[in-house]
């Protein structure tokens, strides 16, 4: 019996946690389980969720990227200004994603080639990208976009809100890449044992850098969705997002030591954070307590992760 519980916790710990939270919330507030509210949670989770997918790649290599919130701000204001210039939506999105990927690649190159710990590199980038967004906008928001661009954040396709679709596609694509491609297998190998990966002929520099490229790319994709959803690009957007994003990945069971985890766990982690935020609003928990609740859940989740590791 004890063994069975242990196995269940190891395998599905965080998923069970999410279900537990859902049961408690629906008991306290009947409206919680309404389709509109569940759609609402998914839509709100999409930005953090998309970013967390990219972060999963980085953390799988035992790295970290603290700059995602700032990359979101910088790519978001550039995206907003390109839209204002009258660029077609496809071009706006492509340029925004390219910028995100470029910043991510720079993070990766300094980390791998420059041999600086990613914590320090991305801490620097976090400050630089934030500063550049302030400089670029003069601190003022860039707001009001055309209907075509707003479709990405507020539209629906076959009845499903577009941000949720983008989020779902990102997760599916990432899961496929991690499972079925050389890139995916090498990232796990590098995270598991970098030395061994290097000795077995894997170009650690290239593949590790690619993880940061992907992380920058998803931060930019999150920026596109957020900017469109808010109808504004702001240099102050995404402050503190790196914490939610990293929390989603870690809660989802991807080990900060690398080599273990995946995007499905990250999906559950992001949903757990989104559900808790939503639930605390519905139950009208006061703001001071919200911080405590969120912190406790993160610590409990990491304890669960630890349990799995043992």
């Amino acid at each position: 019996m004890k063994h069975w519980i242990g196995t269940a916790l190891r395998q599905y710990g965080i998923f069970l946690g999410l279900i537990g939270v859902v049961i408690v919330l629906s008991a306290c507030e009947p409206r919680f389980l309404a389709v509109e509210n569940l759609t609402n949670i998914l839509r709100q989770t999409s930005v953090i969720g998309i970013m967390a997918v990219g972060m999963t790649f980085v953390i799988l290599t035992a790295g970290i990227d603290l700059s995602v919130g700032s990359i979101l701000a910088l790519t978001g204001v550039v995206c907003a200004s390109l839209e204002h210039r009258g660029w077609p939506v496809v071009a706006v999105v492509a340029a925004t994603l390219a910028l995100g990927a470029l910043i991510g690649t720079l993070n990766g190159i300094v980390t791998t080639v420059g041999r600086v710990t990613p914590f320090v590199v991305t801490l620097g980038t976090m400050s630089i990208a934030r500063g550049l967004s302030h400089i670029y906008t003069g601190g003022q928001p860039i707001s009001r976009f055309g209907a075509a661009f707003r479709y990405l954040g507020t539209g629906e396709f076959l009845g499903v809100p577009v941000p949720i679709l983008i989020f779902a596609l990102t997760v599916l694509l990432a899961a496929a890449v991690l499972r079925h491609t050389v890139l995916g297998r090498y990232l796990y190998a590098i995270g598991g044992n970098e030395e061994a990966a290097l000795l077995s002929g894997i170009s650690v520099t290239v593949y590790k850098t690619l993880a940061y490229t992907i992380c920058g790319l998803t931060a930019a994709l999150g920026a596109v969705v957020l900017t469109s959803r808010l109808d504004a690009g702001e240099s102050i957007a995404g402050i503190g997002y790196e914490l939610d994003v990293i929390a989603a990945v870690v809660i989802g069971g991807t080990s900060l030591l690398g080599g273990r985890g995946g995007v499905w766990g990250t999906l559950i982690g992001a949903l757990l954070i989104g559900t808790i935020n939503n639930g605390m609003n519905l139950l009208m928990i006061s703001s001071y307590y919200q911080l405590v609740v969120k912190g406790v859940i993160i610590v409990v989740a990491v304890l669960l992760d630890r349990l799995r590791g043992d």
Binding site: E29, R31, F32, A34, E36, N37, N40, R43, Q44, V47, L66, S81, H84, R85, L123, G124, M126, S127, G131, H134, I135, T137, G138, G139, Q140, P141, I142, S143, T154, L226, R229, L230, D231, A232, E234, S235, I236, A237, G238, I239, L243, N277, N278, N281, L282, M284, S286, S287, Y288, Q290, L291
Partner: protein
């Protein structure tokens, strides 16, 4: 923790930049012209850019020289800026301190050097300050509440979006708002924080709309949260015309929402007027030697709506591309 690390990283760069800038700026010449040093927390924030622009303009009108130095959100940097001011013997200092306690030594150093200092917007908790000119956030909260009470004729249900937990404007704006609202038949049905951020304002409002449809007013402790909430209401097909919406700060974006009929009002604290008043009092003291009549001046906040849009301060328009 994260912040401290960032700060530590910033201090190094800031110190280098500061040294460079100080070298570039020409030393105050003692030709009898009054020289004022001013330092603000961060020129990346439009609020302080607006403050600076007003002070620079007022300085021209008063025919005094002004040196404005950005403290880049680092208290230690602001301290050394003040030390530079003392070293170059400015006649007076205008400061918007980064921390109420952290900048007390800077104020005491100015006191020791007999250089008069005025504080704008934010206060310090010690030392001798000639005068503090600021905004009364409690009164602003009351003004927002009075606007809602008027619009709803004293009855109805209101949703409140609070600022960052623990931040003093968040606490004061909430206190003033409740002081007025709680004395009426208007019920605050939900009070949640959205951390002064637009994206948070949007998602918190979306969440609240899942359980609350029967409300007649929304009050947010800043415009960013309010504009996010307006987006959420519009996307969820809440008839905005039926809801009284009041934000705070009268930022350019909010004024354009008011102009478009998507927002009802925003509380204006006149940061530019605050800054000008502070400089005027400092210069008057330097010229006459007489101390000001009072050591605290609070600019009265005004609720800006479509009826009095022209009373709002021009804080620079939203960047048009």
């Amino acid at each position: 923790m994260k912040r401290q690390v960032v700060f530590a990283a910033l201090i190094g760069t800031a110190a280098l930049l500061g040294a460079g800038l100080a070298g570039c700026q020409r030393a105050a010449q003692d030709d009898g012209r009054i020289v004022i040093g001013m330092t603000v927390p961060s020129l990346t924030h439009p609020f302080f850019v607006h403050l600076r622009d007003n002070v620079v303009d007022e300085a021209q009108q008063l025919d005094v020289e002004i040196i404005v130095v950005d403290a880049e959100d680092v208290a230690a940097k602001q301290m050394s800026i003040v030390e530079d001011f003392i070293a170059r013997r400015v006649d007076g200092v205008v400061i918007s301190p980064i921390g109420a306690d952290a900048l007390v030594p800077a104020i005491e150093a100015l006191n020791k050097a007999s250089i008069p200092v005025v504080t704008v917007d934010r206060k310090v908790s010690g030392g001798q300050v000639l005068v503090h000119v600021g905004a009364d956030n409690v009164e602003g909260g009351r003004a927002a509440a009075r606007f809602i009470v008027d619009q709803l004729a004293g009855k109805g249900r209101v949703i409140e979006l609070e600022g960052t937990p623990g931040a003093s404007p968040a606490i004061d704006r909430k206190a003033g708002f409740h002081a007025v609202i709680d004395a009426t038949d208007i019920e605050v049905i939900a009070s949640q924080t959205a951390n002064f951020q637009r994206a948070n304002g949007q998602s918190v409002m979306e969440n609240l709309l899942q359980v609350h449809r029967d409300f007649q007013a929304v009050y947010a402790a800043n415009d960013e949260m309010m504009l996010g909430a307006v987006e959420a209401m519009e996307a969820n097909k809440v008839d905005a015309a039926q809801v009284v919406t009041v934000g705070y700060d009268a930022i350019p974006d909010a004024l354009s929402y008011i102009r478009a009929g998507r927002l009802d009002a925003s509380v204006e604290q006149y940061p530019g007027r605050q800054a000008r008043e502070a400089l005027r009092m400092l210069v008057a003291h330097l010229r006459t030697g007489a101390p000001p009549e009072t050591d605290e001046v609070y600019i009265k906040p005004v609720v800006i709506s479509a009826a009095n849009l022209d009373e709002a301060e021009d804080k620079g328009v939203t960047r048009a591309q």
